[in-house]
Amino acid sequence: MKRYSAFALVREALNGHKGWERAWRNAQPKAHYDAIIIGAGGHGLATAYYLGKNFGITNVAILEKGWLGGGNTGRNTTIIRSNYLQDPSAAIYEKSRALYETLSQELNYNIMFSPRGVMMLAQTEHEVRGYRRTAHANALQGVSTEFISPRRVKELVPIIELNGPRYPVLGALWQDRAGTARHDAVAWGYARACSDMGMDIIQKCEVTGITREGGRVTGVQTTKGDIACDRLGIVVAGHSGVLAEMAGFRLPVESVALQALVSEPIKPCMDVVVMANTVHGYMSQSDKGEMVIGGGADGFNNYTQRGSFHHIEETVRALVETFPMISRLKMLRQWGGIVDMTGDRSPILSKTPIEGVFINCGWGTGGFKAIPGSGWGFAELMAKGTSPLTDPFSLNRFGEGRFIDESVAAGVAH
């Protein structure tokens, strides 16, 4: 693999960029793989990458129905933070955040991780208590986060209105090593690294069936033929239910549309990410200058990748109230993605009733920030059958009533 660097760019510039190779090979399926990952989104590609890097399993295929990174990886608002309340969440999200810090160097691909800081506004006494509790929990979980004063909030975010007529800003939970990254680049960087390890990324290849023998997986049927495998990882976010049905088991998930929007690009005016959960809105400014805004999720099952407009309206209303200066900016584009919600709104990383089949789903609105940590833990689960990062997120927690509920703290939104 040709290494990327400023020097390489200049060199290529001199010979008309004729020397750049494909970022990933255009592979055709082999007859058998040690492991197949269904879904070439961030989570799937990261899983494959760490299977190879941490466990030397490189005879791997990643099957993608459409084009890689085309699902929620390429449709989210790219927020990365780890100051979650519950231990299992804090563990996997902090692992993820830490991996993000060095991912550009690790992959030799600039994924533009920008630790600009993420702020969650406390606008009611209830939220203040919730975030203080989170700050206490984080201190013992090794997650650096702090509760800051309104004055500090205004210093960090000059465009904010502290004394809104409805909900004054009483403070905020602030994680300064949190931030954002370039979502497509995360998928492309992992894809390039996987391909370089000899793994096959097979796009436009839809899985149509999952073959089993005596309760064990033996392979998959696809639009590009049958492929055998020893282990199968299902990492397809919104379409988990459909794949699970093929494999012959049910999931405690429902797929709904989640929306986002961006404004036209303007000169930099907000360097941190702000989440205002009481009024349901969050906003950051991309390096291109667009205000990136996350909307709400529909309350009904939906596979259209189109959400209902009233969520956009509610979010924009909230943000105009929180950042009045955006009133005369314009919405450039809105879009939706399909996310899968579980019974406790926390993800599922688990073995399944079918031996050799593993499922990674249920990230709801919080998947992007978890990509490296999820891949790391899920790869360990697939390789060793257990992982401290993923074990608490097993399927059986619902039967036992052992939930991982983040809505407990005020910070509901991911």
């Binding site: 239910g241 459909v242 049910r250 999931l251 009904f300 939906n302 009233h310 019974g343």
Partner: protein, 109 residues
């Protein structure tokens, strides 16, 4: 932005006048049920890409809960019906079979 006909008051209700209530026709399992039944009742969901049966409440209206049969892929609404039933009306099932031959949902087809 869905629009559904409330079978109780007959109003064509805008999505923002309704509140969604999740999967329809779940059988309540109380004390005495086994763990699997109970888990299935509370958490396991059909989540189909296609024909789905779900609950809605005409919250900003007559306040009644009702059922809707809807396609989750096209958002086509096959019909809405009373909440006081454990099974969709046969004529609705026939309509769906006409429009979506070979459809399945739990024990319905």
């Amino acid at each position: 932005m869905l629009i559904l006909k409330c079978p109780y008051c007959g109003v064509m209700a805008d999505e923002t006048e309704l509140s969604p209530g999740g999967e329809a026709h779940l059988t309540r399992h109380g004390p005495g049920s086994d763990d699997t039944e109970f888990e299935a009742y509370l958490f396991m969901r059909e989540n189909p890409r296609g024909v789905h049966f779900e609950r809605w409440r005409h919250a900003h209206g007559c306040g009644k809960w009702f059922h809707a049969a809807r396609c989750t892929q096209t958002l086509e609404v096959f019909g809405t019906y009373s909440a006081q039933t454990t099974r969709p009306p046969q004529d609705l099932l026939d309509t769906i079979s006409e429009k979506r031959p070979g459809w399945r949902w739990r024990d319905l087809a």
